[in-house]
């Protein structure tokens, strides 16, 4: 199972190792200078995106960073300024046509509670011409979701499973997930991502996931997008990230040497200094202690605190 997944990710050209570089592959999402304001608040402040076909991208940012606004813009649910193309279409002009190519799960609990799951399948079958009802029924047969019970009486986990089954039965080229497992217990969260990878992702489809639970998805991702204050602060493949950023658990005797090399972020962990370096050769760092690729969550904190540090410094210099 794991091998076949790796094969599919490799086929997409996004896996670690050789393959077609992301920059060379066709982009399913192209955005230039996206701007959106709510009153004085700038939700998107010149967002640039280039998401390659077949990638699994994680859009990660703190609360209020502009993740949901960015995803809504891609789906044509809000009006934004700037150039935007998703699956060859402008979502602002052709949202409904775009929905033939794009599926999304906004978060848990958006399915209409008054419907039964059978009625939901009836409706989607007639409305979405690329929906394969037999596939949806097959996927649902592996769950315990009753066909004739109203959705409002199902548990949160069941509703998410139902929504995922519907989405997985649609032959779309882009799937957008905005906090899809919010409020679910760990069993449902794990099942959700396992099914997504094993039964849906085929290396041809593109998935964009926005979530706070970074640890749960980082093993799936082929591409990282960090967003903060409406700006993309990091846009990199995981392969490039692994080459560019290095984390070192510093030996006590090497603490001063580690600091002199100018880490982008450092923290104390159980009495040991842990530093993250950007653009420093691994061989040079190996002398300082145990070298590894930083976790996405740690890199995220490092990048954001680094940004804030630079902004504070800049403000002080201006004053």
């Amino acid at each position: 199972m794991e091998n076949s997944l790796l094969d599919r990710r490799a086929a997409s050209g996004a896996a670690v190792g050789e393959g077609v570089g992301e920059g060379e592959r066709e982009s399913i999402v192209k955005a230039r200078g996206l701007r959106k304001s709510y009153g004085k608040l700038r939700a998107l402040d010149g967002v640039e995106l280039n998401i390659a076909t077949g990638s699994i991208s994680g859009l990660i940012g703190p609360n209020g960073a502009g993740k949901t606004t960015a995803l809504k813009a891609l789906l044509g649910l809000i009006d934004v300024q700037g150039d935007l193309e998703v699956a060859g279409m402008d979502p602002r002009a052709a949202r409904h046509r775009l929905m033939d190519e794009v599926c999304f799960i906004a978060d848990v609990g958006i399915l209409p509670g008054w419907m039964t799951s059978r009625q939901l399948l009836d409706h989607v079958e007639k409305v979405h011409f690329r929906f394969d009802r037999r596939r949806a029924e097959k996927l649902l047969s592996t769950t315990e979701i009753p066909a004739d019970k109203r959705i409002r009486s199902l548990s949160k986990g069941m509703v998410t499973q139902l929504h995922l089954s519907v989405v997985m039965a649609i032959d779309a080229s882009l799937l957008v997930l905005d906090e899809p497992t919010l409020g679910l217990d760990i069993m449902y969260r794990k099942t959700f991502y396992d099914r997504l990878l094993n039964d849906y992702y085929d290396g041809r489809r593109t998935i964009i996931i926005s979530t706070h639970q970074v640890e749960e998805i980082e093993h799936l991702l082929t591409h990282l997008l960090f967003i903060d204050k409406g700006r993309i602060v990091l846009d990199q493949s995981l392969q490039a990230m692994a080459e560019h950023y290095v984390e070192v658990a510093v030996d006590p005797a090497q603490r001063e040497a580690a600091r002199r090399l100018g880490p982008m972020h450092s923290r104390e962990l159980l009495g040991q200094l842990v530093c993250i370096y950007s653009g420093v050769a691994r061989q040079q760092l190996e002398a300082l202690g145990e070298v590894r690729t930083p976790a996405v969550a740690d890199l995220f904190v490092a990048r954001l605190t680094g940004e804030k540090g630079r902004q504070t410094e800049g403000n002080q210099n201006e004053n």
């Binding site: 949202r95 409904h96 599926c103």
Partner: protein
Amino acid sequence: MKTEMTRFGALLRKEVREHRNLLWITPTVVSLLLLLIFFLLVLGPLQNLGHSALLWAGSLLGNPPLRSAVAVPLFAAMPFAPAIFLTSIIYLTVCLYQDRKDRSFLFWQSMPVSDWQAVMARVVTAVFVIPAVFAPFVLVCLLCPLLYLAPAMADAGTGFAAGRALLLALDASVLFWCFTWLNGLLMLPVIGWFLLFSAYSKRVPFLWALGSIFLLALLEVWLLESIWFVYWMNWTTRALVFGYGDVPSTLFSYDMLVALILGGVLLAGAAFMRRFND
């Protein structure tokens, strides 16, 4: 083979399923009330009054040609007109608002259905589907008194029998539906207005829609010193309750043209709001 009609049909079916309580309970209550009044008139404590009314109705029904007698069952069906109007207004007020309130609009937006199609499905439901749901109830309420009358009329030598009663009820029903649908089109601005507020309001869309009508009327009186808006609203609601006029002349009138243009503008506003207002 799936077509745009399949898709639109599914949207209408969804509306009927979602608002089934409103769509079935109102005609049931109105029908039961009308039948209760009828039986009180012919069997209960008001039978003297009922007897006189039936004699009068019977004299009209017995007069040839039968076609002119259709006015009697049409008159009996009249309480259904405001009931249909009220049901439609409540439906229009909640339909788009409810989607936003329970957040299901994000799911509906994930389907390849344009905002214009979604709004038009609501319009067709209000103008055609809701009256169609009322249809069997109206027919029953017309048929019961006519069938009750038929033997007495036949005995009186009027030639009015059960078969003719059925024809008369069907005839009156068809005319009633023509007028109801026609009035629905004439009321397109009202439909657009309520849909606009259903798509726009953060809360209590009904009060917003109604309050704005009063505000507009007051502003017109205050700023323009005219009462055109009040006159137009009065004419529209009169057309709803008493508008059993000539179908072709109403269909191709300037009033209809104005209603379609103004209604179209308001519906476009509702489609815009549905898309961008969450």
